[in-house]
Symmetry: C2
């Protein structure tokens, strides 16, 4: 958060400088936080504008309407998150170590990007209606499967993994455990206590996630 604001300053804007990219990215950053916090219909354009370094008019100038802004935020959220995933190099690890590493990474990654999780939750509430209009996102996520395919192929070749393991189904499992851990934290902790979501509890759950996946794939 707070990134991409550039050198724009709000106070003392007497004779302003033009900075389209800065204004644009500033709006998106603020809007992402607001949408993540309040949902599509819950977010207020006036509120977003107020927290921006610019005015409400600019939102409509660049994004047309509320939904246009939301779509942009959605794409940006996916882009920002997926970009962090590329740093991971799993090729030099043994298949089992690589898979364990991937699970740990996904778990931590989701955990440290709650706003992304919330945006995806909101998008699911809307039946994925806005995601549908963006083919950019679909292509981005294919890369996530690619990594799993390679690990599975190597694991199968080494006789470590069961041959019938499907990468997509594996991805479903890993996502489920990592996503739920963040998305349902409020209700789960309200009902069953917050211990599992404090640091040591999270370490346990992360370990369980790894162990579940590993036990599942192992021959």
């Amino acid at each position: 958060m707070g990134e991409g604001i550039g050198s724009v300053e709000k106070a003392g804007r007497v004779g302003w400088k033009q900075d389209p990219e800065g204004v644009r990215s500033n709006i998106v950053a603020v809007a992402m936080a607001e949408f993540a916090q309040n949902g599509l219909s819950g977010a207020r354009i006036d509120e977003i504008a107020a927290k921006t370094l610019t005015s409400k008019r600019m939102i409509y100038y660049y994004f047309g309407d509320k939904e246009g802004l939301y779509r942009t935020v959605l794409e940006e959220a996916y882009r920002k998150v997926r970009s962090g995933e590329q740093e991971l190099d799993l090729e030099h690890l043994e298949p089992d170590a690589a898979l364990a590493r991937l699970v740990e990474f996904t778990f931590d990654h989701h955990s440290s990007n709650p706003d992304f999780i919330r945006i995806v939750m909101i998008e699911n509430i809307h039946h994925g209606a806005y995601l549908e209009q963006s083919d950019l996102i679909a292509t981005m996520n294919e890369g996530a499967i690619r990594k799993l395919e390679q690990i599975c192929a190597r694991g199968r070749a080494a006789g470590l993994f069961r041959p019938e393991i499907e990468p997509l189904e594996l991805h479903w499992m890993i996502s489920a455990l990592s996503f739920f851990n963040v998305s349902n934290r409020p209700t789960f902790s309200r009902i069953f206590g917050a211990a599992l979501f404090r640091p040591d509890g999270q370490k346990i759950l992360r370990g369980h996630a790894v162990e579940m996946v590993m036990r599942f794939v192992m021959a």
Copy 2:
């Protein structure tokens, strides 16, 4: 849906009959569908009233305001769902069979109650703020853990399960797989295709959920 309407009739209400319970439950039923569909801020009181057999005035008469109605819907959703869980008798099954059965039941149960899932999603978006005000729900859910505790104890005693297995953590896993399968269906299927969510795909995922849990707990 459509339950609890009773004998109230909308058309031809010339000389109306008083039916507080019928009116009340009818409002809640309609509101649950609307909130599940559109969220708290997305749902429209006028829309709810229109789909009701009564008038908007009654909503405020019985529930005070929009949030009061939402709280009632939330409690009712939990009550309705948990009530279906009691039918399951696991005591006469071997611990491993009982656990597998519980996973299957939870998976199917979530799958066939999408409106409940959506309400919980919405509540999580609101940080569980409304759940907090209801201790009824917390006590109701303790029963869900109770079943797992008994299964674990028996499994451990029989030497089938690992001794360090924690019932609450087990519940977390089972919930994660079952919940995610419904909650993230729109985005997941939009990105990776809908095959996993068609009947045969669901059978596979359900089997994987069972297998993951079983392999995890087994000694």
